[in-house]
């Protein structure tokens, strides 16, 4: 009995430690955001919300927030349907030996470091600008296209997982009752994939919203996203304004996850 008590105690300690390690930076950011002094030091000289006010007043954060929001929504709206279609093709189409190769290719953007992918895209855009004789790099469209690329691997992963748990007989039942293939998809397949698709939307949005490395190489003047705006600010100051911005970001993502979890149980799909 004593041994089992000890084991349980050690296990509890390990779990607490692991959570602490994961949460410490997040908590630190939130705590720092209300420190009164400009250069972070312990103990705090006081508690203030002035940094939040400062962040609000600096136009680049508000504009960056709006740009990030636009890019993330557009990238999700483009990437999730594409990724869902790709997942369906992987699961259903007669691909033979191509299946493995396609799967790897579709998950590729996850494996390539963001800076490398950003550089590659930058070079590609420079080349492509010659062909189409129009701006691509530094435009909203160029940025959205790059971010859509980020959302596809997540979508493919999440929707594929949902597809695996789908009983093909349910789709056959719909066809047997007189539904044409497109109707079967719309009325039966898609609703059954809903948890996977909703989770894909959430993760795609977050991926795009917080992306820095890829974005850094592709933003144009006046089109800074929030993470890039934060990095720019960091070059000149280190006051807790950034912590305030980051806290708002953390709360936003946390709220999104909680809301999503109310509709589909995320732990079931991820």
């Amino acid at each position: 009995m004593a041994g089992s008590h000890l084991q349980r105690g050690l296990f509890g300690l390990a779990v607490t430690g692991a959570y602490g390690l994961v949460l410490a930076p997040v908590l630190a950011v939130i705590v720092i955001s209300v420190f009164a002094q400009e250069i972070v030091s312990f103990p705090p000289e006081g508690v203030t919300l002035a940094w939040y006010a400062n962040a609000w007043e600096r136009r680049e954060f508000a504009r960056g927030f709006v740009t990030s929001l636009q890019v993330a929504l557009a990238a999700t709206a483009i990437g999730v349907p594409l990724g869902t279609a790709a997942a369906l093709a992987l699961a259903r189409a007669r691909l033979g030996g191509l299946r493995g190769a396609l799967n790897t290719l579709l998950l590729g953007p996850l494996a390539v470091p963001g800076v490398v992918a950003g550089t590659a895209l930058y070079l590609f855009y420079v080349r492509a600008e010659f062909w189409v004789d129009d701006d691509i790099k530094g435009t909203m469209a160029g940025l959205v296209a790059a971010h859509a690329l980020l959302t596809i691997p997540w979508t493919v992963r999440l929707v594929s997982a949902s597809l695996q748990g789908l009983d093909a007989a349910v789709e056959e039942a719909a066809a047997n009752l007189g539904a044409r293939p497109l109707t079967v998809f719309r009325r039966v397949t898609l609703p059954m994939l809903r948890p996977g698709v909703v989770a894909a939307c959430l993760f795609s949005f977050i991926q795009s919203f917080e992306n820095l490395e890829l974005t850094l190489l592709l933003v144009g003047p006046g089109r800074t996203t929030l993470p890039v705006a934060m990095l720019n600010y960091l070059e000149f100051r280190v006051d807790p304004t950034l912590a305030a911005v980051a806290t708002v970001q953390i709360l936003l993502v946390g709220a999104l996850m909680l809301i999503t979890d109310r509709f589909v149980s995320l732990s079931r799909v991820v």
Binding site: V170, A173, A175, R187, P191
Partner: protein, 358 residues
């Protein structure tokens, strides 16, 4: 309702043949069971009728119409799946209404027919539940209602009872049969459970490795099996290899000379004799045998006999405790007797007998 005809229906996968030239006529209102061990092609046959698997050869006719090239949604069959395959995101009512919606039937009529269908399967008042809130038996009845509400030309059942527990299975078996007869449904039913097939079907089709071995009523198959496979698959049967020796006798490989039906089927090499048609006695007529084992099974007792090296199983109602027969024990000398007409000579293919290695 209509008839269903399979005309030399075949399905090959590369070099292997899953279904080989199956011919079948299901009359209007008839229930035919496709019966066979797993992998015999019965489910493939059913799925070709529903249109989920394109045949490699042959034709499917529903109500006289050739539907071989018609996609599933145009065939007007009503299928009940083994997993029930209910739409999990729709209520019971929406599940049942789905087929009517696809047929563009107006809301008012749809609601009436859904209500009727649910009453038919005794699920009135359940229309607003979700499938996952129902028990297995109730889900199965929803699947039945959903398939029946559209008045399908042919009713298809793919092992619909295999996911129910034993007690419920007997109940639902009876219920499906009553429903099928009341509505006069032309039905094709797939099962690997012979008791299910024998109790429910008007006729049975015994399949094995893609081929039809025999088609007939339960009595046809049990009393007049076409070959050793059918004899062994339907009920229990002594199957002895050997050769006919003159009219009315069969020399078993073990050496015993056994009386049998005079006219053997061509190519007959197996004697088939049902255990309950053998009488075991201590006096009177019969072949001398030695009791190897006696197994008390309650209502019945099973005797394993040894006829000079040829094994034979006999089953008889357990004699009353006062009877001398009750005292029979291994090693006793007995007489085994049967009507020669009960011992049939049948053809057999390699693998047809349980002790054969195919």
């Amino acid at each position: 309702m209509g008839t269903l005809t399979l005309d030399a229906l075949s399905r090959r996968y590369g070099a292997t043949t899953a279904v080989e030239r199956v011919d079948l006529d299901v009359a209007e209102g008839e229930l035919v069971a496709l019966l066979g061990p797993s992998g015999c092609g019965k489910t493939t046959t059913l799925r070709m009728v529903a249109g989920f698997i394109p045949p490699s050869g042959g034709r499917v006719l529903i109500a006289g119409q050739d539907v071989t090239r018609t996609p599933p949604h145009g065939r007007n069959t009503g299928m009940v799946f083994q997993s029930y395959a209910l739409f999990p995101h729709m209520t019971v009512g929406q599940n049942v209404a789905f087929g009517l919606e696809m047929r563009k039937i107006g809301r008012a009529e749809r609601e009436t027919r859904v209500r009727e269908a649910l009453r038919l399967v005794r699920l009135d008042g359940m229309a607003d539940r979700l499938p996952r809130q129902l028990s297995g038996g109730q889900q199965q009845r929803v699947a039945l209602a959903r398939a029946l509400v559209v008045n399908p030309a042919v009713f298809l059942l793919d092992e619909p009872l295999s996911n129910l527990d034993a007690k419920l299975r007997a109940e639902v078996r009876f219920e499906i049969r009553a429903l099928q007869q009341r509505l006069g449904l032309t039905t094709l039913f797939v099962t690997h459970d012979q008791e299910e097939a024998l109790t429910m079907a008007d006729r049975l089709v015994v399949m094995e490795r893609g081929r039809v071995r025999q088609t007939g009523t339960a009595e046809d198959l049990y009393e007049r099996p076409a070959d050793a496979f059918v004899a062994g698959f339907i009920g229990r049967c002594n199957l002895l290899r050997g050769a006919p020796e003159g009219p009315g006798h069969f020399r078993a490989h073990g050496g015993a000379l056994l009386p049998c039906l005079a006219a053997p089927a061509p190519g007959a090499s197996v004697l088939a004799l049902r255990p309950e048609r053998i009488a075991v006695a201590t006096e009177g007529e019969g072949l001398p045998a030695r009791l190897a084992t006696v197994t008390y099974l309650g209502a019945q007792t099973e005797y394993h006999l040894d006829l000079g090296g040829t094994p034979l199983v006999a089953i008889a109602p357990t004699p009353p405790e006062s009877s001398r027969h009750r005292a029979l024990a291994p090693g006793d000398a007995v007489l085994a007797h049967w009507d020669p007409a009960e011992a049939r000579l049948l053809p057999a293919e390699p693998g047809d007998l349980p002790d054969d290695t195919p």
